[in-house]
Each structure stands twice: as C-alpha cells, then as structure tokens.
C-alpha cells in the first residue's frame, strides 16, 4: 500500500502519477559510479566512437551507466564526452588534476560534449597534470575501478532508503515475471483454441465442397 495515503499499489504506475521516474532517479544517485571525486580533480574527458565495433562497448556503457552517477555527486566537475565516427580511433579517458589549491583556475574554456569528434581533449594547463585511462576493449566496471583508484575517489554507500527502494523495484520485477508467464499461458491457450476452431471450420468447408 502507498505510504502516504494507504491506497493499494498498482502494478506499474502509482496513483500519484510517479510511474518509473523514481526508478530513474534512484539509478542516477545510487549504484556503481556514485562517488565523491577529490577536489584536485578539475575535469574529466572521454573519447570513444559511436558504435561498439573495435572495443567501444565498455566506454559507452561507462558513459550511459556510471557517468550520470558521478556527475550527480560531482556537479561542479565538467564531464565531457567526445564521440567520433572513426571506429578504429582511440577510446581514452583523460582526468585533469590541479594539485595547487591556491592557484587561480585557468581561463581557457573547456570544450563541450560533441557527437562529431569536434571536442578532443585539450592539453593540460601549466598548473595541471593529466592521467589517461585506456578504455578500449575493457568492461565498464573495470574502467570505473581504475578511475576510482587513480583519483582516490570515495565511493558512496547507498542509504537505507535507497536500499529499500532497490528491493522494492526488484520485488516488482519478480512479480511482473510471474504475471508475464501467467498471461502468456492464457494467451497461448486462447490462440490454440482459435487455431483449432479455424482448422475445424476450414476442414468442414472442404468436406462440404467435396461432398457437394
């Protein structure tokens, strides 16, 4: 039942109109990639190709699954993705560090994300250093681990409320599997009945035609 108004929960969309937005938000703030980057990390740049041929599946999954969580917890850090159509091109993550906290941040503008390869990773400024992570042919979880260790980031554990929500959605998923099988059985039975009836009718017609 609903926690706020005790109405029974429907299968997919609850009566407050939330639908699966809660699930989307949960997946943005919790899960692998939810981590606080240290203050030294100033920018993150990713470079990989549009399609997966050539080992670009890992970086793509990292972008779609882990980067949103990183961005949510570190909104002030520019995280730019440069995608190209060259499948044989590199798949590299560049992390920019500024170790001198008192220094003024550089005024050179960082390029924005692009889908046509027009925002390659810029050279580091004088007071910056870069760390590159090769992403080609590697799983997104491996890429994430390397990023977390190389930056010294602190992964955030999900709160009790988040864990409860994860369990709720797993529950929903399990129930929907059961329902799916039950409905599938019903529909299959109906289809079989219909097919049998149609066959009987057509047989009857052919008998009628031959006998007449």
């Amino acid at each position: 039942a609903c926690a706020t108004c005790s109405a029974p929960r429907l299968h997919y969309r609850d009566h407050h109109g939330n639908a699966d937005v809660r699930h989307q938000l949960l997946n943005i703030r919790a899960g692998p990639g939810a981590a606080l980057l240290p203050k030294e990390v100033t920018k993150v740049h990713l470079q990989f190709a549009h399609r997966i041929e050539g080992g670009h599946m890992g970086p793509r999954k990292f972008w779609r699954e882990n980067l949103p969580k990183l961005k949510y917890w570190n909104p002030a850090v520019p995280m730019v993705v440069n995608r190209t159509t060259d499948q044989n091109g590199p798949a590299v993550m560049t992390v920019y560090f500024r170790d001198d906290k008192d220094a003024q941040p550089s005024s050179t503008p960082f390029p924005t994300s692009s889908a046509d390869g027009s925002s390659p990773a810029p050279k580091p400024a004088k007071d910056e250093r870069i760390v590159t992570i090769d992403m080609k042919n590697r799983k997104s979880s491996v890429i994430l681990n390397e990023l977390l260790t190389k930056t010294g980031a602190v992964p955030l554990q999900p709160t009790a409320k988040d864990e409860e929500e994860f369990r709720e959605f797993e529950d929903l998923h399990r129930r929907s599997e059961i329902d799916r099988e039950r409905i599938q059985k019903m529909n299959d039975a109906k289809k079989r009945e219909k097919a049998m009836l149609a066959k009987a009718m057509s047989d009857a017609q052919s008998i009628k035609a031959t006998s007449v």
């Binding site: 609903c2 989307q24 990713l46 994300s113």
Partner: protein, 303 residues
C-alpha cells in the same frame, strides 16, 4: 470416421440438427472445436427482443481532463531538478538538449485553449526561418527578403510547399495574398505542421516588419489536452537563467488565463520540468538546492 464427418458436416451447414449426443464420445475430445460443438441452442431463446439492436456498453464520458492526486508526489526545487537532469544528460552535446516545461491545467475538455507567444529573457531557439506569401514581384517581396525571409512571393512559396521542400519553419501571409493562398489548396500540407497562416495565430498581416520582430525571438505555445508545453532553456543555461525563463513563461500563462472568459475556468495544477533525454520532475516553487553541500554555482559547469 462417419460420425466425425457427420459432426463436421452439420457444423458446415450450421444447422440445428446436430448428431445425437451419443455419437460425440467416439471423437477424441481434442479434435472437437469447443465453441462450435458445445453451443446449446434452444428454439425459444432469442437474444434480440423485438428486433432491436443490442446496444454496445456506453463508455463513461469525462468533462474534465484527468487530474492526479499530488499529495504523495515527490516535488523538487529548481536546483535539485537541474542536478538530476544534468546528470541524466551528461555527455550529450549541449546545443541538442533543451529544458522543457509542462504546465498541467485543470480545464474542461473541448473548450477554448490557451494560445499565445512569449518573449523569454534568455532566448532558446535561434534558428527561425520565415517564408512570406506576398504578391509576386512586388515591393513587398523585396521587403520580406530584406527583413530576412528565406522565401518570398506566391508561386515560389507554393511550389516549395507542394514539393515538400520546407526551407522555412514559420509561414506568413500578407493580407493581399490571402485569396491566392486559399486558391492554392496547400492547407492539407500546412495544417498538420501548424504552418497554415491565419488571423488567430497573427500570421496574416499587413505590417511585415512588426510581425517579423515578433516572430524572431518570440516562442509560441499552445494548450493541448489540458497541458501547455514549451522549451524554456538549453542545457548550457545557468540556474538563474532557467529560473527567469520559467518565471516569465508562468507569468504569461497566468495573464492569458485571467484574460480568458470566466465560463471556462482554468486552474494551474502542476509544473513539470524535463529535458530531451531526461526524466520529468514535478517542481515545487522553490529555487535553492536542498543539499547544503551543493551551491547553484556548481550547476554551471561545462557540459
């Protein structure tokens, strides 16, 4: 075999004289179509009384668009919503991503709709291409070209429409060419795209210069199915810019509603902020982030 033939033959004739029940058990049950064979018919039973057609079950007609109960709805301040949306849109080219606002109204179905133009403090769209239908070869055509129209004239524009070559996304018509527009029969091609010039949308005009000034920089909005939707920002906007735009949009809608006839009341129900690829988040009227570790300036980073 004979009994099977008998059964199926009677089925073919769709007659009431089915073979006696005793014959049926000789046929394996799975070969007998369940619906046809088990149908029991009585001579006195009529489903149509007096020959009247059986009325289909009437669907309940609703006068108002559906309203959701918002008591348990999770609502967000603008900065909180932007934090989630910018995370959902990370890595997308910022010019291809727009913030959009959906304003749900409590309103009757089929009544007059809210429909107007608003000038936002920070404009969103920068690519309005206007075509003008005006007398061919006249001064008006030159004036239109001078003001920045991509296409001007009568036949040139009509041909472009008929060939599907839409170089423009807004269409104006000068009052002198109204007759030609009607004769050209392009309504069927323009109507679905919302490009048909009409007095209601202020696209049939005498004064080209004023209308051009209005169109470039003014965004149209229209209520459909009880919701007004419009793009109010791009991904690169700061929280302050987005807040200003949303405030201007809401103020305009409220003033439009107050100008409307009292017979069809329209009430603001919900305001939802969303982006091109992101979730839709219901807004409460607040601005500041609820997490004290985050400041509005943090949401201005390059995307």
């Amino acid at each position: 075999m004979a009994s099977t033939q008998q059964c199926l033959a009677s089925l073919a004739r769709l007659s009431l004289s089915t073979p006696p029940r005793a014959a049926l058990p000789t046929i394996p049950k799975f070969l007998v179509p369940s619906v046809g064979a088990s149908q029991v018919r009585y001579a006195t039973h009529t489903s149509n009384k007096g020959g009247a057609k059986k009325a289909p079950k009437k669907k309940k007609q609703y006068k108002f668009f559906k309203s959701w109960d918002l008591t348990g709805m999770q609502q967000f301040s603008l900065c909180d919503a932007m934090r989630y949306l910018r995370a959902a849109e990370v890595g997308q080219p910022p010019l291809t991503v727009k913030y959009e606002v959906h304003v749900k109204l409590r309103t009757k179905k089929g009544g007059p709709v809210v429909r107007d133009r608003v000038r936002l403090p920070t404009p969103v769209k920068t690519d309005t291409r206007i075509a003008v239908i005006c007398p061919e070869g006249s001064e008006l055509q030159e004036e239109a070209k001078r003001l920045g129209a991509v296409l001007a004239g009568e036949e040139t524009v009509f041909e472009a429409i008929r060939s599907g070559n839409f170089l423009f996304n807004k269409l104006l018509c000068h009052t002198e060419s109204e007759g030609a527009l009607r004769k050209a029969n392009v309504g069927k091609l323009l109507g679905p795209k919302g490009l048909m010039p009409s007095g209601k949308t202020k696209t049939i005009t005498n004064n080209l210069e004023a209308t051009f000034r209005d169109m470039i920089g003014m965004d149209e909005y229209r209520e459909r199915d009880g919701v007004v939707r419009m793009a109010v920002g791009q991904l690169g906007f700061t929280p302050k810019q987005l807040a200003e735009n949303i405030r201007a949009f809401m103020a305009k809608i409220k003033s439009d509603i107050s100008k409307m006839d009292d017979s069809t009341p329209k009430l603001l129900e919900e305001v939802v902020l969303s982006t091109t690829h992101g979730p839709g988040l219901s807004l409460n009227a607040e601005f500041a982030p609820t997490d004290d570790k985050i400041k509005p300036e943090d949401l201005e980073a390059v995307m």
